[in-house]
Structure formats: C-alpha cells, structure tokens
C-alpha cells in the first residue's frame, strides 16, 4: 500500500457538515420541526439549555436545540459561545424570590403555612405510564383555574429565621465576582460557588447531591421550600438612579434546611443549602442545594472527606461545556505523543528482555 499523505481535511470537513445538515433535517416527507414548537412544547429542554448555557432566551435556546438535533449539552455550548460575544449593559439587582409569582410551592417541613402548599404543574404524582393518547394528539382537558393569591408568598426560611432557628443570610456588601469574566480561583467564596453550580451540569449535581445523601458527606437535609414561578429582574441605570423592571424570568429556587449541632461561636441551629436555577428545573435546584450545603463543610467545622464537600473538586468539574470539550478532545490526533510513547515502551521492552536473558 503506497503511503498517501492525509490531504483534503478541508473538503472532508465541508462534506461532514453537509451530511450533518441532511441528517438533522431527517425524512423530508415529515414536516420540519419549528423553533416555536420547540420553545413552547419542549419547555424543560429549553430551560435546561438556558440554565446551562447561562442565557435566558427561549428562542435562542430552542434554535440551539434544533441545530444540535436535541443534544442538550451541544445546545448549551452553542448558547454559551453566543452569549460570550454579547455586550454587558448592566448587572441586575438581586432578584427577590419572596415576590415571585408562584406556580408551584411546596414545603417538606411544614404541613401548612401562609400561602399554602401549591402543587402546580408537576410530574411528581403522575403514574409513569406511557400516554398513548399523545400519539394521536388532541387538545388537553382545560385545567381548572383559581384566583391568583393577593399577597406575596413569604419564604419558609424566613419563617424559621423569625425564631432564630436558622442561620442568618450571609449578606455581603461586596460586589460578587463574575465567573464569566474572571477565572475561577480557590478558595472560592460562596457567591462564586453558587454561580458555578447554577450553570453546572444537572447530571453532575444530581449525582453528587445523591452521593451526599448516601453517606458521602451527609448534610441531614429537609426541603424547607421549593418554589417555581416568575420573578421580576431589575436594573438601576446610572443615568436614572432608580431601579427599573426589565422583564420576568422563570426561576426554580430550593432552600434546604440542614441540621447543625452548633459550634463555639454559634448555637445549635439549622443551616442552609441553596439552589437557584433558570426555568422549571427542580432536580437541578435540589442537587445544587445539596452540593452547596455539602461544600460548606469546612466553614461549619465539619470533616471534609467526601467528593461533594471538596470545593475545588466540585467546581472544577461541574461545567459540562468544559468537560465535554476536554473528554471529546481525545478524538483529536495524538499520534506525535503516541509515537514518543511507542519508542519509550519499545525501549523498556528491549531492556526488560535483555534483563531476562541475562538472568537465564
């Protein structure tokens, strides 16, 4: 076989992209899926891409999902690469989730509480039986409606705080660092950790949170509250000097209430694990809250032994865009390094062979 230099990488790339586009479109006899359909009917996928892509834009997330053939990590990557080119006009004021227009709100620690338990649109109590009626779509039965609550629904953690049973918020006057502008460095303050977790991989946080429940860094968690709904985002333009509402975002917030035996300086009280995620993303928000609390082990004088408690381990590996890039880069040619390894192994084998012969 004559040696043919590997030429034509450029043409190969072009052809690969054409094939990909054809495969993405699929059977031309079937109507093409519309970005609006994705945005409105695949909401959970769109919201996951907005959260991990760190950009709240349903249309762009839906476009990315279409472009990525439903590969949500690839879609989040597309969104990230786009968002990084956008100018920054302002940083918003902290969102006030106590003023959230609540769709769903449940507490695992109080049977009833002001505002009540609101089940909302949840899969929790569906029986996981395939609904074959969706094969032949018909309009769903309209859901009954209730009048909107008059008053804002206070947060459960604030109820506990009245009695001093739960630690105070760690308010800081400092501007939080911006993880998208500054590199992650250790030790990382809690605001930075939460930023990293909020855009971290849902599966990674789920698994680490789960590990903490199975004894790898136990945190004795209760769901103080899980709430989902629309929250106003406000900015204060310097030329105005007062805050203006620029729109609403759907958020999922999880406040865990965790046991804490107390220390020399703090009486026994409950501690907090916090999760806040774009969109309707309960699994992610809960995983985030579990991991956030686990990572506070050192601060609270607990033994740091499990992966979920190791801040550097968690934060360095929770970003799926970084992870997928580096894992998949192994597909790139490594034949120069492999060649040097080949030479080393051959040399070591020759030496080992010589030793064996000498020994005989």
């Amino acid at each position: 076989m004559p040696y043919v230099a590997v030429k034509g990488g450029e043409r190969a790339i072009d052809n690969a992209h054409s094939w990909l586009a054809e495969q993405r479109r699929g059977d031309a006899g079937v109507p093409e899926v519309d970005v609006t359909q994705i945005a409105t009917q695949l909401g959970r996928a769109v919201e996951r891409v907005m959260a991990e892509g760190s950009l709240y834009d349903r249309e762009l997330a839906a476009l990315a999902i279409k472009q990525a053939q439903g590969d949500l990590i690839e879609a989040a990557f597309l969104v990230r690469a786009y968002r990084t080119t956008l100018p920054r006009f302002a940083y918003s004021a902290p969102v006030d989730t106590a003023r959230m227009l609540v769709q769903r709100r449940i507490s695992g620690v109080f049977k009833d509480l002001p505002g009540g338990q609101v089940l909302g649109p949840t899969y929790d109590y569906t029986h996981r039986l395939l609904d074959f009626s969706l094969l032949d779509p018909a309009a769903p039965r309209p859901a009954p409606e209730a009048p909107a609550a008059e008053e804002a629904m206070g947060r459960v953690a604030d109820i506990l705080a009245h009695e001093g049973l739960i630690e105070a918020h760690d308010h800081s006057a400092d501007e939080p660092a911006d993880l998208t502008r500054e590199p992650l460095q250790f030790p990382a303050e809690r605001a930075v950790r939460l930023q990293a977790l909020a855009r971290g991989d849902e599966g990674f946080l789920l698994a680490l949170g789960y590990s903490s429940q199975r004894g790898w860094g136990h945190t004795h968690p209760f769901v103080g509250e899980l709430r989902i709904g629309e929250t106003a985002v406000e900015i204060t333009p310097p030329e105005l000097g007062f805050a203006i509402d620029i729109g609403d975002v759907t958020l999922t917030e999880c406040q865990l209430v965790n046991q804490f035996k107390g220390s020399k300086t703090a009486p026994p009280q409950f501690t907090r694990g916090y999760g806040l995620v774009f969109g309707h993303a309960e699994r992610k928000a809960m995983g985030m809250a579990l991991v956030d609390r686990a990572m506070r082990a050192e601060e609270l004088g607990e033994m740091v032994q499990a992966p979920a408690q190791n801040v550097e381990f968690v934060l360095s590996h929770c970003d799926n865009i970084e992870a997928t890039g580096f894992v998949e880069h192994l597909k790139l040619p490594h034949y120069v390094d492999f060649q040097s390894e080949l030479e080393t192994v051959r040399r070591m084998r020759a030496e080992a062979g010589a030793h064996l012969e000498a020994a005989e």
């Binding site: 590997v6 990488g9 590199p183 550097e312 865009i321 890039g325 034949y335 060649q339 040097s340 030479e343």
Partner: protein, 287 residues
C-alpha cells in the same frame, strides 16, 4: 460570518484583558497567569487557549500558520486556520519561514524560528505538577515556594525502576531557573528547541484559564540529573519520503503484517526537503 463579529472574533476589551495577561506572563517567564478565558465557538480542549492568544495578538498584516501534530492538513489545524481566515481575513501559510505567528498543537517546527516570529502553543494542562498534586490551590503554593522536590523524586523513581526517565512528552522544564513549566504535550524531542529560542513563545490554556510565556532568548532546561542527563529521543529511522535523519518521525502503519513507514511529522519540513531534491527510500521500514 464577519458581520456582527469583531476582527479576529474577540471584542477589543477581551483582547486587552488577554494582552495584559500575556504581558504579565512575559515579565514572569514560566509563571501561569490566570485570565478570564471566554467561551469560544470551538470546544474546550480543542485549542481555545491558543486561539484566544492568537486572536489577541494578530493584526491584519500577520501571516498565520496553524499546525497540529506538526502537520498543516490535520482537520483541527484546518478548522482553526479557517476560523482566522474567516474572522480576521489574514493571510495563511503552511511555510514555517513565511509565518509571523505559528499556532501549534503538540509540536515545534523543525525549521528554527526567528526573532520576528511568535509561536503560540495550545495547552491542555498548564500545571506541570497535576499528576503529583491534583489541587491547584496547593500547586500554586508549591510554585510560589519553588517547591519542586516531588517532580525530582518522580524522575528519580523512574530511573531507579527503569534506568531512565519514562516521560516521553509534556516533559517538564525549568524556565529561567525559577518556574517549573509544562511545555504542552510536545514530544520531549522538541524540548531543546525551546531553550534560548529567538522567537517569543506564548502558551494558552483556555479551559484551565491560564496563559504563560517564555520570552526570546530565555533559558529552558528539561529537568534531569547530572549523572542522568536529559536525552531527546526519536524513532531510529530516516524519513521514508525525504530521507531526513534528524527530524521527528510519525509511524504510519502500511499493512497488517507489521509494515511501517516512518515519515516526518513536520509536513512543511518534509515538503521543503523534497522540493530541494531530497528523497527517502519510500518503502516501509522492516521491524
């Protein structure tokens, strides 16, 4: 694609931020400078650090060469070269001597670089100590204190067990007698080229968010011992195409009976030699 994107993709603010990191890196040779690495439209691990460095230093009159494994025609090199041809409309070349900026993955060209050239390395893992100490908070402290004993012990252990150091690529170097540095996964064969190189050497690690540099004419020593000096190794063959006996070789499998052809990994070097009339045996080397 250029509509809507700045020259060389990155906005000017970001370029200034990257240039500040580069200046600091040049001022402290071998020291890893954290920088606000951006998400690029290419995946992490595929050259995002090198691309950001190149994007920050490239001008309209630059001539860019991009290589991967020493070759200009590997798909990722093609992809990165196209990225800059598209976003910066710069001239590109495959000739080492003609380039003003050379972005590389895993090799240093065989043709010696000059003072008017910059070589940009794509770096997957900037921390030379990471296999010995995974915590970057800890390795930062070790660099601060020049606490590099663990790496010497690692080399020593190789020598006692195997008779020689068994690191064949990304072989650690001391820069300017102060910082231990990962040369990126170039074969150890290329390490000596870094020493007193007239060209500026810049290293970009996008995912790990670090930039470091070796200024021109800086001492770069591969770590070794007086009684076990560093040895650069290559496959003991001549290039099957150009006959070179001093270049780094790729091993190409030519049949399923153990036949191998050894050819220059640096495609420009090989083509230049062949154009000048050099020939190799053109046949597989016997194993």
């Amino acid at each position: 694609m250029n509509a809507g994107y700045n020259f060389a993709y990155l906005d000017e603010q970001t370029k200034r931020m990257v240039r500040r990191a580069i200046l600091k890196a040049v001022a402290i040779p071998g020291h890893q400078v954290p920088f606000g690495s951006r998400e690029m439209p290419l995946p992490y691990g595929w050259g995002t650090g090198g691309i950001q460095v190149t994007a920050s230093i490239i001008g309209p009159r630059d001539v860019l060469k991009v290589i991967d494994q020493g070759a200009d025609d590997t798909t990722n090199a093609v992809s990165i070269r196209r990225f800059f041809a598209r976003t910066a409309q710069v001239a590109t070349t495959t000739r080492t001597a003609e380039a003003t900026i050379i972005q590389t993955r895993h090799r240093i060209p065989e043709t010696p670089l000059g003072e008017d050239q910059i070589i940009v390395y794509q770096v997957p893992q900037p921390e030379p100590l990471f296999r010995l100490e995974p915590s970057r908070a800890e390795t930062r402290r070790m660099h601060g204190l020049s606490e590099y004993g663990v790496m010497h012990v690692r080399l020593y252990e190789d020598i006692t067990r195997l008779g020689h150091v068994a690191i064949s690529y990304d072989y650690p170097v001391m820069v300017n007698g102060r910082y231990l540095m990962a040369p990126s996964p170039i074969p150890a064969f290329d390490n000596p080229k870094m020493h007193m190189m007239p060209a500026l050497q810049l290293f970009g690690a996008g995912r790990e968010k670090r930039i470091y540099a070796v200024p021109p004419y800086t001492e770069v020593r591969s770590l070794d011992f007086e009684d076990h000096p560093f040895v650069a190794t290559r496959a003991p063959h001549a290039c099957g195409l150009c006959g070179a006996t001093d270049s780094y070789l790729d091993e190409v499998v030519v049949d399923d009976k153990g036949g191998r052809l050894f050819v220059c990994s640096d495609t420009d070097h090989c083509e230049t030699r062949r154009a000048a009339g050099d020939t190799g045996s053109g046949t597989a080397a016997a194993e």
